[in-house]
């Protein structure tokens, strides 16, 4: 597990974000591979249903792909007026190995 002291600091352009109704989520994981910039991953913790829910890392483009595939209507999508640079997770932890914004 990475911790703040020993990982590479990267800043990635982040053009949007999502809001997750984590109590509605049933933990199906369909949003994870649907995300083009690969900035969603499943949490370690669980909601009151007992489901693991997605969590968002820096680099969201506000493209809505996660919302489009979500069967449980638990994602809302926002696009920022101005892109911001946010601290990114270590590449090896993000799953796809690529934090590049593609959308």
């Amino acid at each position: 597990m990475a911790h703040r002291g020993c990982r590479a600091m990267t800043l990635v352009e982040t053009r949007g974000t999502i809001r997750i109704d984590s109590e509605r989520c049933k933990g199906c994981e369909l949003c994870i591979p649907a995300c083009p910039p690969r900035v969603l991953r499943m949490s370690e913790g669980r909601n009151t249903r007992g489901a693991r829910v997605p969590e968002l890392l820096a680099g969201c483009t506000g493209c809505s792909a996660c919302l489009l595939v979500c069967p449980d209507f638990c994602i809302e999508v926002y696009q920022y007026a101005e892109p911001v640079m946010l601290e990114a997770v270590n590449a090896s932890e993000s799953g796809s190995g690529d934090n590049e914004v593609t959308a």
Partner: protein, 273 residues
């Protein structure tokens, strides 16, 4: 839930930065987004598209839906559109009667493969051939989801169900029916397409198909059908995350996505048959 790691963003509330909301939790025409369908089910995704298209076409207050019997029937209490609940398989006939009395309204059916292709096969074929100005929406997951995973008339060869335990075997169980292809040669048909909700691109394409189907109805061009392949990880006995891949590899193999009839004319694969 805790997300105390600095690299995980807070997604609980609205963003604090200046931003525009570009996608809402549930479609406007749902009274409540909380539902009881299984994790990873594709049906709510398709229902979202259907309701968004009705809303975007400006037909929210000029639409009547006729709902079949299946897991999606649980949504009839939540869909904020005037509805008629039909019996298993009968929705196209019910929609016919309603449309003939209310020709100015958008009439759609919402049916599963067990409903449309098993119990009500003749209804959809006759309704199409009559050229009824209705749009039938088929949610095809190749399995009876509500009864717990049994073989339907669209179950793909090799697909395991509780009544085809070793996988559907053509010699023993017969072949799946590709309903969209079956409708192609019929005279009354204006638009037929098959989409899927396996991934975001397919979802966007499928939404465009629904829009075209409804536009054909509004233009008075005749019958339209949009078949939507949906995941049923519960009835496919696989993890939810494997649903989209299974859909593409197993169901998609028999029921290929694409438009088959546009403007009353066969196009693509369906045309060659």
């Amino acid at each position: 839930m805790s997300s105390d790691r600095l690299d995980v963003l807070d997604t609980h509330g609205r963003p604090t930065r200046v931003s525009t909301r570009v996608g809402e939790f549930e479609p406007k025409l749902l009274l409540d987004g909380e539902h009881d369908l299984c994790p990873g089910c594709g049906e709510p995704v398709a229902i979202r598209l259907l309701l968004e298209v009705i809303e975007e076409l400006g037909y929210a207050q000029d639409s009547i839906g006729v709902i079949g019997i299946g897991c999606y029937t649980a949504f009839t209490g939540l869909i904020d559109v005037d509805l008629i609940q039909a019996l298993h398989g009968r929705a196209p006939s019910v929609a016919t009667g309603a449309k003939r009395m209310r020709p100015d309204k958008l009439l759609f059916t919402l049916q599963g493969d067990g409903d449309m292709v098993n119990e009500g096969l003749q209804e959809v074929i006759h309704t199409a051939a009559r050229g009824e100005s209705v749009t039938c929406v088929l949610l095809n997951n190749g399995v009876f989801g509500e009864t717990g995973g049994h073989m339907t008339a669209t179950t793909a060869l090799g697909q395991r169900t509780k009544t085809s335990l070793e996988g559907r075997d053509a010699d023993y169980h017969g072949y799946p029916i590709p309903i969209a292809e079956l409708l192609v040669p019929l005279g009354g048909v204006s638009y037929v397409a098959r989409g899927s909700v396996a991934d975001a691109k397919s979802v966007v394409r499928t939404k465009a198909m629904l829009r075209k189907a409804f536009e054909a109805q509004i233009a008075g061009e005749g019958f339209s059908l949009v078949e939507i392949l949906t995941m049923c990880p519960t009835g496919w006995f696989i993890p939810t995350a494997d649903g989209p891949g299974y859909l593409d590899e197993v169901l998609g193999e028999v029921h290929a996505a694409g438009e088959l009839v546009v403007g009353g004319k066969p196009v693509g694969k369906g045309a060659s048959g």
